[in-house]
Assembly symmetry: C2
Homo-oligomer: 227 residues x 2
């Protein structure tokens, strides 16, 4: 399957690498591919620059947001919270069309220091902002509640027996995404929370997530809904 992924950070890299390894045809979209290939890692020495990751993944293509949007039969938004709307605007409504968009982003803001706060919450969500800006896109919020390594490999902890959520307005898109989460990565327990307004609940899990990350000293954890 042809997939367009917005975002060149650890989430985009992890999703692109895992999907390419599964035999999918993946293009990562970025604002300016040439600049992306020249950029040093924002985190300095602690992370590999994108060009080095890219050099090790020959099957993955790199293009503009518009090129990746046109390329993909389905799209994944794996940008930062602040990068999400600019990415979709960069792609443009024509290229996005009515494609299914898995929105993995989180509206984390660091202006108040660490732990981050949410830049939108409670009465609105980033997913709703994106859906309002691009009403034809069939947005499905998902995967934002787990660290990148677990998004693509839930089996890494607890035998994969934990929970993922989806929220979005298009029932057919959600059904497809639930199927893909199982086929691509092995997610077995996926709870449909309802329309896109329910992304508020998924994004508002992040303030607990960042605190659990501190308390547990590891990002390799996830929520299982016991019932």
């Amino acid at each position: 399957m042809k997939l367009g992924i917005f975002g060149t950070g650890i989430v985009g890299q992890t999703l692109a690498g895992a999907l390419a390894a599964k035999g999918h045809d993946v293009m990562i979209g970025t604002r300016d591919p040439q600049a992306t290939m020249q950029r040093e890692s924002a985190s300095g020495a602690t992370r590999t620059p994108f060009r080095d990751w890219y050099a090790g993944h020959a099957a993955v293509k790199l293009g503009t947001f518009t090129e990746a949007a046109r390329f993909g039969e389905a799209l994944i938004n794996a940008t930062s919270g602040s990068g999400a709307l600019p990415a979709l605007e960069g792609a443009g409504a024509d290229a996005l069309g009515d494609k299914i968009l898995l929105d993995v982003s989180n509206p984390l803001g660091y202006s108040k220091g660490s732990p981050p706060t949410l830049t939108v919450s409670n009465t609105d969500s980033l997913a709703e902002q994106l859906q309002r800006a691009f009403p034809r896109v069939r947005l499905v919020k998902t995967l934002n509640t787990a660290t990148a390594a677990l998004m693509v490999n839930p089996g890494a902890i607890g035998g994969g027996d934990h929970t993922m959520f989806v929220a979005g307005n298009d029932a057919d898109a959600k059904a497809k995404v639930k199927g893909w989460l199982g086929e691509w990565f092995g997610w077995r327990d996926v709870i449909d929370l309802g329309d896109v307004t329910n992304a508020r609940g998924m994004e508002m899990l992040l303030p607990l997530w960042v605190r659990l990350y501190s308390a547990l000293g590891s990002s390799m954890f996830n929520f299982k809904i016991i019932r």
Copy 2:
């Protein structure tokens, strides 16, 4: 152990009933005990009026907020979100002293309809508001992330193998509360998130909780942190 519980709703009733059944000496505190005994249920026919519940629990005492605060060796705030600060103000700083207070309340607001939004979140929390108003009280946020029936009986689902959180500024108080959660109710996995500011994460779980309640059609669920 002598325990003072603020709040006459389903949470206060459930905690008082369970603790009295365990042999603890429990006084429920309310603004006006006489009015509480005369009140019809706010939810009309769907819930038992407090006086009927009380008639069936002879071991439980009823008093003012101040009386319950003076009575308890430890205190539990089981009011609604909007009732929390008035309850503590009703008790008064003298009666509260430096007692341990388990804060179980959630800042749910229904002014925007259902599902509820939070009346404070993201950069502050109800627990912090209470702690700031009564700085001597040793507040421990806990139990707010599960329905009342599970607070007192986690074994009702999944063999009790799921997670509770605590947050608060006083390490000794948190250690005692962790012990009590195990002794009183059988909680085995209790994660300490840190100081009282981390109650933000616990309270911001509620927007997901209310959506899971809708999606699952039951309140008998809880979060387990798989790691």
